[in-house]
Subunit: 214 residues, 2 copies
């Protein structure tokens, strides 16, 4: 595409480096900003820059945070003896949005993936072990994607935590609500058959019990 | 959605004010930036801010420009006696991308639309009349969207330019290349029948003649 302005060219270029934004969309965004008041653009530019420069990671759970300790770890109303281990902060948000979890988190920063060059030392596994080693943790819930890498990570972490008297669980895998059996992959279907639940327990769990102590 | 960080909240909020970007996409962009090196984010923030603060509008044609006169108006190789009148800078880019037009432009900044509160005085019609009044313009091509507002604008401008010895034309309307007759709207089909071309002229125009002097 031909731009008559180097400034526009640079802005389009910068926008189009974002995921899911091509040059046409980038141009649309740039032209939109040009139409709006300059304050709108300043607000966007400042919010982006400040977010990147001032964001911190909670020194306990590695979730994003505005302070040294995030609002979840710093909340005395939450159960600090249950840790939910997730891959990234997006997963924290997803679980928080369910409003069904009252414990705290531990953000790994990814999963073990030899192909992508991610080893255990690149993740926050050691700090997790230290949190468990304090003896104040009753349960560690592995809320990690059910992929080969995810399962490897779960296996590795469970090995590291074996020495401590802590209950290890994973989130339930199975057919999603509203999902149709015929479209489920064989792996999921096979596992959901193996791990079938007594009907009473199913009825119980559908009454949304937030406590994981069942 | 629940964010544990006010900084992220603000960045998501700022991104989601852009057209076509909802809160989920905005969050994805923010998390992407958090994963990348800080320089990437600085580059984006700076490019956006600089674009908005330093961009100028060509004092001749009102196209966006890095200097007082845009690169099209400042190009001696172009025909300055033909002015193509367009609604906005996106249309300039669209026409430039065809690489078939060698004249200059005039960006109106919109079309006359009483419903949207846009009157002739909100557009750059007066500067266009002044350009024509210099007597150095042979032809004014109206490349304005074929809507009710567009046609009103064309009618208004043609009235203003009536006093000057200048040829007024509009871009051809009709069935698009690759378009199928059965899906064309009645208005377009009816106009394309009324303004039918002799076959020789059609054959000639399909040989891409950039000069509008035929």
């Amino acid at each position: 595409m031909i731009f008559s302005s180097r400034l526009i060219e640079e802005a389009v270029e910068a926008f189009s480096r974002l995921p899911g934004i091509g040059r046409k969309t980038a141009l649309r965004l740039v032209l939109h900003l040009l139409k709006e008041a300059p304050e709108e653009t300043h607000r966007l530019a400042d919010a982006i820059r400040r977010m990147r420069d001032e964001i911190r990671f909670c020194r306990i759970c590695y979730n994003v945070s505005d302070a040294e300790v995030c609002s979840i770890c710093g909340n005395p109303a939450r159960r600090h003896d249950i840790i939910c281990v997730v891959e990234n902060i997006r997963d924290v948000m997803a679980i928080e949005n369910t409003q069904q979890y009252a414990g705290v988190y531990h953000v790994l920063g990814g999963v073990i993936s030899p192909l992508a060059g991610v080893g255990p030392e690149d993740l926050t596994i050691e700090p997790l072990v230290q949190r468990v080693a304090t003896g104040q943790v009753q349960e560690v819930i592995m809320a990690i994607s059910p992929t080969v890498e995810g399962d490897t990570t779960i296996f590795y972490i469970s090995g590291k935590l074996k020495a401590y008297p802590v209950k290890l669980t994973t989130i339930a895998r199975g057919i999603a609500f509203g999902g149709e059996l015929e479209y489920a992959d064989e792996m999921t279907l096979a596992r959901s058959l193996t791990n079938r639940l007594p009907l009473e327990k199913y009825m119980l769990s559908s009454q949304a019990d937030p406590s994981p102590d069942t």
